[in-house]
């Protein structure tokens, strides 16, 4: 069978500042046959997206690629001009990107953006038909909307419709479902399977999640040490290996953290202000009660908008609640709290791009909390020992999240999403907190990394009795991680059960919805 796409001896370097280079790929080859679906699996930062961009002819900035041969439908792409590659993308290749919402211009109606992709003549009916082909129930409404009025799942469907317009012989998909919630993920995967059956084009799917790829492709290649290998799926992941030991410990004890009747309303409380700002005040927390024992790992699970993040921010002391009390180790926590207490309560956020200063190196990012929380001694001999200690702690924190020491000189923009998340976790761990709040902190990480972070957290819990509260939308993951699941809906904690009994004990409609979404997820083989 003649391959649609063949790459030979592809090597890829990332150029860093100060003339340094990191070798990501070392002469690897890849061929995709007609109608074949190939998956590319690899941890974050392994250069998966760079391969895809190289095939497209839009190399990532800072990436240096060398390649012996790159052929597509028997034509040599390396000999083509930029303009010819552009035309080729228009007529023969389809692309789906990771983050569907940002891939649409906010200034142009969806109908226009879909029409833009059509090669020559188009009519409104064509546009609507191609939207309904990807399972959008109300194409009229979608077509006349702007992207910010749509959900991530809807946008990804439109992106798939755009990619299919030119009847491509190769469809490239970069993490097509990972930015979506669990229900939308399932729908998008189903759609891609259906699309492939209908159109029969070749596919190259990139993902960090083996389950996604197993559902979608014929053959999986995994990136390791700069070479692509065939992937051999593991029999079982981490199901039930370390857990279940600690479920029947410590029964009655003073809770480390207790939240009583916490209330918070977004927007200003003053009438005239809220009129000027013309927002409807939307209550985020409506009397939350939660108690966490020392050493326990609790997961607060709920859909988006249920108030999880607000609760995390209140406990961390970022938002001030309007009513209710937070007790920490038996004493009430005020909104303004001493430095020492702040070190004990660390919050890790999902959005690492926003929470890491892009101008600081990783070492500086990790040093900053230490500097703030240690009073700086003035005598020079102590200073030097403190400096050594600081360096030690930074290196240990880096090692804990399995980042090599060389990374301490990089800045956040030079890291991949998963690596940034690890830096954020290291920054929280460097202070040895007793309570860790993780606000969707595992969401952006790939499978292996999630496991390594979870193992790390487990080890820390065993070592120093670290207490964790996860705030997450992903029930299936939390069932594996947490001792206890608390379900949050519309600003309240509606029920809470031990993780082992959750699927049997859950009664509230919100919990049942979450369970449904979990069961609909592709079964991990």
């Amino acid at each position: 069978m003649k391959p649609v796409l063949s790459i030979q001896e592809l090597s890829l370097d990332y150029r860093l500042s100060k003339g340094k280079q990191v070798r990501v790929l070392r002469g690897t080859s890849l061929a995709i046959g007609q109608g074949e679906a190939v998956g590319l699996l690899g941890p974050s930062g392994s250069g998966k997206t760079s391969i895809l961009r190289f095939i497209l002819g839009m190399p990532s900035p800072g990436a240096e690629t060398r390649c012996a041969a790159l052929q597509f439908e028997g034509r040599d792409l390396l000999r083509m001009t930029a303009r010819e590659r552009h035309t080729l993308r228009r007529n023969r290749m389809g692309v789906i990107f990771q983050d569907p919402l940002s891939r649409f211009s906010p200034f142009r109606r969806i109908s226009r953006q879909v029409q833009d992709v059509f090669p020559r003549r188009y009519s409104r009916i064509d546009t609507l038909r191609c939207l309904s082909d990807v399972g959008l129930a109300d194409p009229e409404r979608i077509a006349s909307s702007y992207s910010h009025q749509l959900s991530g799942g809807e946008c990804q469907r439109i992106a798939i419709a755009q990619a299919l317009v030119s009847e491509p012989s190769l469809l490239l998909a970069d993490e097509p479902s990972s930015a979506l919630d669990t229900v939308a993920q399932r729908h998008i995967l189903d759609l891609l399977i259906k699309v492939r059956a209908q159109h029969g084009m070749a596919m190259l799917v990139i993902s960090h999640d083996p389950a996604t790829l197993l559902a979608l492709v014929d053959r999986i290649l995994v990136m390791r040490d700069g070479i692509l290998y065939d992937y051999d799926p593991p029999r079982s992941t981490l199901r039930g290996s370390q857990r279940s030991i600690r479920s029947k410990e410590i029964e009655t004890e003073v809770p480390l953290l207790e939240v009583r009747n916490l209330r918070l309303q977004h927007g200003s409380s003053r009438r005239w202000r809220s009129w000027l700002e013309s927002h409807q005040p939307h209550p985020a927390l409506q009397g939350v009660n939660l108690a966490v024992r020392p050493g326990e790992c609790v997961a607060v699970v709920g859909g988006s908008g249920s108030g999880k993040s607000t609760l995390a921010r209140c406990i961390a002391g970022i938002d001030a609640p309007q009513a209710g009390v937070i007790y920490f180790a038996g004493s009430p926590l005020l909104h303004t709290r001493p430095l020492l207490l702040r070190a004990h309560l660390q919050l890790i956020l999902q959005d690492t791009v926003g929470s890491l200063n892009p101008r600081l190196t990783v070492a500086q990012i990790l040093e900053e909390p230490l500097r703030i929380h240690q009073r700086r001694p003035t005598m020079s001999h102590i200073q030097s020992s403190v400096q050594k200690d600081t360096k030690d702690r930074i290196n240990r924190a880096l090692a804990a999240v399995s980042l090599p020491v060389e990374y301490s000189e990089r800045c956040p923009p030079q890291l991949s999403g998963g690596e940034r998340q690890r830096v954020a976790i290291a920054r929280a761990l460097v202070l040895h907190p007793s309570l860790l709040l993780l606000d969707e902190a595992l969401t952006g990480l790939d499978h292996e990394l999630q496991q390594s972070v979870l193992e790390l957290l487990g080890a820390l819990r065993a070592q120093m009795g670290l207490t964790c509260i996860h705030f997450s939308h992903d029930l299936s993951q939390m069932l594996l991680v947490a001792d206890r699941i608390a379900v949050m809906d519309e600003g309240r904690i509606v029920e809470s059960h031990p993780a082992a009994e959750f699927s049997r004990a859950a009664r509230h409609p919100a919990s049942l919805r979450l369970l449904d979404a979990m069961l609909a997820k592709p079964e991990e083989r």
């Binding site: 552009h86 228009r90 692309v95 891939r103 906010p106 200034f107 755009q162």
Partner: protein, 315 residues
């Protein structure tokens, strides 16, 4: 609509505040129009007293302010002390001149700035060098160089005061346009680096936007990517900048007016401040404030038209 009404209300309140502040500051400054005349040996005490009697009898600041507000609402801004003319007619003529000059300058700067700023490749780097060069030269020096060049080339016609009394014939219009070229060019060159800089900055960022990358990946025609994806992405800050430019139409041209002897608002205001001709100063400052507010309002309306997300928040 409620948003617009709120904006207009805000504008009116700030106008009121500006006029009050202006009044208070002027009366807080020592001396008045007559204090310098008193030092003039050529003017007798009787004349002075007669002149003083013609102006308002001395009343409290608040009374004068309320009286001024009342007449201002009727379109009467009082009489000028030094010109002995109603301030309204004096100002309207000068404002027309200044608007003509700075609108031509602004227009020129934006047309040139957009054209140069949108260039790509080596020409863009050339433009960048040229911009920083231009930026580092003070505006008056630029204007003087222009003036000198014009004199060398013998193209500088003597400036006649453009008045509307001459009627709007074609010949009049042509001579007016001829005289407008040099000063408005000076203004445009002064403003040009700002525009080019912002256009270039915005476009560089917009070319890397995810939506633009997706459009390139789908292989849309280059022209469509530029017009419908890159430019809208870059437009928001440029619209705000344009609004600021419109807002400073009345106040930005002082240097050029003085250097080219253009009979505009800036010159009039400067003189009025020097001789403490209160009515002119207050009315002039108020006009600048109105212009500034109108410019910002214009930018907001343009943003509202351009960005559907802003429309959504507003509703």
């Amino acid at each position: 609509m409620r948003v617009l009404a709120r904006r207009v209300l805000h504008s009116l309140i700030s106008l009121l505040a500006v006029s009050m502040l202006c009044f208070a500051l002027l009366s807080a400054a020592p001396g008045d129009y007559f204090s310098e005349l008193r030092l003039e040996p050529g003017i007798s005490q009787q004349t002075l007293r007669a002149m003083e009697r013609q102006t308002d009898p001395r009343r409290s600041l608040a009374e004068r302010y309320v009286f001024w507000c009342e007449s201002a609402l009727r379109g009467d801004f009082g009489n000028s002390l030094s010109y002995h003319l109603p301030v309204a007619s004096l100002l309207s003529e000068r404002i027309a001149n200044t608007l003509m000059l700075s609108a031509a300058g602004l227009f020129g700067a934006w047309v040139l700035g957009l054209a140069l700023g949108m260039s790509e490749g080596w020409f863009a780097s050339l433009v960048r060098v040229f911009t920083s060069l231009l930026w580092s030269i003070p505006e008056p020096v630029l204007a003087l160089v222009l003036l000198l060049a014009a004199l060398k080339l013998h193209t500088l016609a003597p400036l006649t005061v453009p008045t509307s009394e001459a009627g709007w014939s074609l010949a009049h219009f042509q001579s007016l346009a001829g005289q407008l070229v040099l000063p408005s060019l000076a203004m445009a060159i002064g403003y040009l680096p700002v525009v080019i800089h912002h256009v270039q900055r915005g476009l560089v960022a917009a070319r890397e936007a995810p939506a633009v990358e997706a459009a390139r990946a789908h292989g849309l025609p280059y022209r469509r990517i530029l017009l419908h994806y890159i430019l809208p992405e870059a437009a928001n800050p440029l619209i705000s900048l344009f609004g600021l430019g419109v807002g400073s139409l009345l106040s930005a041209s002082l240097f050029v007016e003085v250097l080219f002897g253009w009979p505009g608002l800036g010159q009039l205001l400067l003189n009025a401040i020097l001789v403490r001709d209160t009515n002119i100063v207050v009315a002039g400052v108020l006009c600048s404030a109105v212009m500034l507010i109108a410019g910002n309002l214009l930018a907001d309306i343009l943003l509202w038209l351009h960005d559907p997300r802003i429309r959504e928040v507003a509703q």
